[in-house]
Subunit: 73 residues, 6 copies
């Protein structure tokens, strides 16, 4: 009975778009299949929770991700 | 000094309603009491964090929960 | 289909003992009952994960918890 | 830059075995591929953390998982 | 390659204001520096995720935090 | 009343050593100070939980971290 939590940045605004409902469904389906294939886990008891994290709440390299990307260009 | 995280789906729309502030207060009170009763933990240092997860962000059976419920009917 | 994570310190040594398997079973049972009573959640799809955290890995008041307790006496 | 956390029960003893290092490597590889395929996320900034949870620390149906499985037979 | 998650209450309304983007940037910068100084971890592979938790979703002392603060006055 | 979770790899074996109790105390102290300085949070209600993650349980670049480091040399 696995529990999987996937955190991704919530993209959006002029530079992109966030994960769509269809993309989230693909993540849920894909990771559930993976756990069944690799560990024999039953899909019926595999929970997947996706969190979209606002860009200003995600840091890497000591910077909020938007600032980090600007500097990395 | 326990830390408890409770994740539930954020219900709503035509088919239901999300947990109310009153229901959340009952969860906080109930789980804090439980930790005091079972382990003798002080309520003053028991933290409870509740997360409401949008339906499209929660998967079970390899499907987003709304789709899963539709098929389970 | 709630997911609950309970983190408690792993007590032990001369000053106490950790939660026993019986106490963990009481936490699992109690929090599952609570979610059924307050939100009508089905026990069959309620997951509870307990983490015992070593004392040196838990901080409060800016100190590891053992040091914090020593100073609080 | 996704962060993925996978929690599975630590199987073992007479009735089974836990995930092997090879199986964990397959989970890491598979979920990283999935995030690249579905959302275009770079593997270099995709973190995966696996937690093996002792059976007595995982509850479902209001019971520790071993007891739950015994009753489900 | 550390992963740090910081959860704080989302303040606001007549009694206060939430963390600003500038304050979040300071948290990201500060905790990344700390991990580099204490453990030699590379900022480039240090992820920080901040979650603002609504006041009604955070409990302490068996009460939602707003109620707890009212009684503590 | 912030809650901070810091996950780092558990180094060790011939190639290194894990974070010492002293280093963990520095992380707890440092992050608590940071939250007080930036957001005015009280140390008395700031919880810090550190998790050491075994190397085979942490993935980056689609590989367990030890393999990733070998290839990155």
């Amino acid at each position: 009975m696995p529990y999987v939590n996937i955190k991704v940045t919530r993209e959006g605004g002029p530079d992109g778009t966030g994960p769509s409902a269809e993309q989230k469904a693909q993540l849920i389906s894909g990771v559930t299949d993976l756990l069944q294939k690799v560990l024999g886990k039953s899909p019926a008891t595999t929970f997947v929770v996706i969190n979209e994290v606002p860009l200003e709440d995600w840091g890497v390299g000591g910077l909020p991700v938007q600032e980090y990307r600007r500097q990395a260009r």
